[in-house]
């Protein structure tokens, strides 16, 4: 009896999922059809898409406006509109890449959020110097460890500094310290170094692997220090 009930529940849930999926697919198909049409249908779809992207870009700007207290409301809105315009170009260029694995609107939103976030991070770092000389850093120089700091922690910090100095290439060191210690946003650093976000993250990833391997070789236990306190 219970098996029959369970099957009934599963069938109901599955039908609901299929219906939701169908609606989602219908909505996405309509977007693709209209954006690939001609004349007034396409113009209307473009206007609706732009509206959707402006909404997403303004959402991102509103979320981040505390990081840019010196910008006026109209300057922030200009950034949102510029982000939406750039996102519209990206979405249209990549329309054939949409695989229908999410709603079309969610897929499109991410382009506007990315454009707005990149513009706002760059604006926040505009004019700020980024220390890029590998010799210029001293990782824990400003760290005044509490008198009761465990010897274990001092040993760990020393090993991390040595690992960074010895195991990494100058480029890996520069990228790791800028991103992980100085808090430079990855797209700001990519811009300054004439690189890309993907390439810099690969460098960061390789540097982290090397550093972890070096610390493991020295028998340093990390996990305890990586847990949120």
């Amino acid at each position: 009896m219970s098996t029959v009930t369970l099957r009934g529940v599963e069938a109901g849930a599955s039908e609901a999922a299929v219906t939701a999926r169908q609606l989602q697919d219908d909505e996405s198909r309509a977007w693709l059809r209209d954006l690939r049409a001609d004349g007034a249908v396409r113009d209307d779809a473009l206007a609706r898409l732009h509206e959707l992207l402006v909404r997403a870009a303004r959402f991102e700007v509103a979320r981040r406006r505390v990081t840019l207290p010196h910008l006026r409301g109209d300057e922030l809105d200009d950034i949102a509109l510029e982000a939406a315009d750039d996102a519209l170009m990206s979405v249209l260029r990549r329309l054939d890449d949409f695989r229908g694995l999410s709603r079309f609107s969610t897929w499109a939103y991410k382009f506007a959020l990315l454009e707005a976030a990149v513009k706002l991070r760059k604006r926040a770092w505009q004019g700020r110097e980024i220390p890029l000389e590998p010799e210029a850093w001293n990782l824990f120089a400003s760290a005044r460890l509490a008198p009761d700091t465990e010897a274990e922690l001092a040993e760990l910090l020393g090993a991390v500094e040595r690992g960074i100095a010895e195991a990494l290439t100058p480029h890996q060191r520069r990228v790791l310290v800028a991103l992980a210690v100085d808090g430079v946003p990855i797209d700001v650093l990519a811009d300054r170094l004439g690189s890309t976000r993907g390439a810099l993250y690969k460098t960061l990833h390789d540097a982290r692997r090397k550093l972890r391997a070096q610390l493991a070789e020295r028998g340093i236990a990390l996990e305890e220090w990586l847990e949120e306190s």
Binding site: A56, R63, R103, Y109, K110, A180, V181, I186, D187, L204
Partner: protein
């Protein structure tokens, strides 16, 4: 230096222990990942390595938080 500052710097320096995707794959899959999360499905099983990437990449993490909030608002 407070213990939490040390932890924050060490996490940034060492990154996630688990295998992770890169920023480009993260961007490609983020919309699908977010919708699976909102549907209560196992997003990490469907797209292995994306959760670890979000742990290791502050920029992608911020964009994930925004997309999740925006898409959740749409569904309400």
């Amino acid at each position: 230096m407070e213990r939490r500052d040390t932890t924050r710097i060490l996490r940034g320096l060492l990154g996630p222990a688990a295998p992770e995707v890169g920023c480009d794959t993260c961007f490609e899959e983020l919309d699908r990942f977010v919708e699976l999360e909102l549907a209560g499905e196992d997003a990490e099983a469907a797209i292995p390595g994306l959760r670890a990437h979000l742990e290791g990449c502050p920029a992608c993490r911020e964009e994930h938080v925004s997309l999740l909030a925006l898409a959740a608002g749409e569904q309400r």
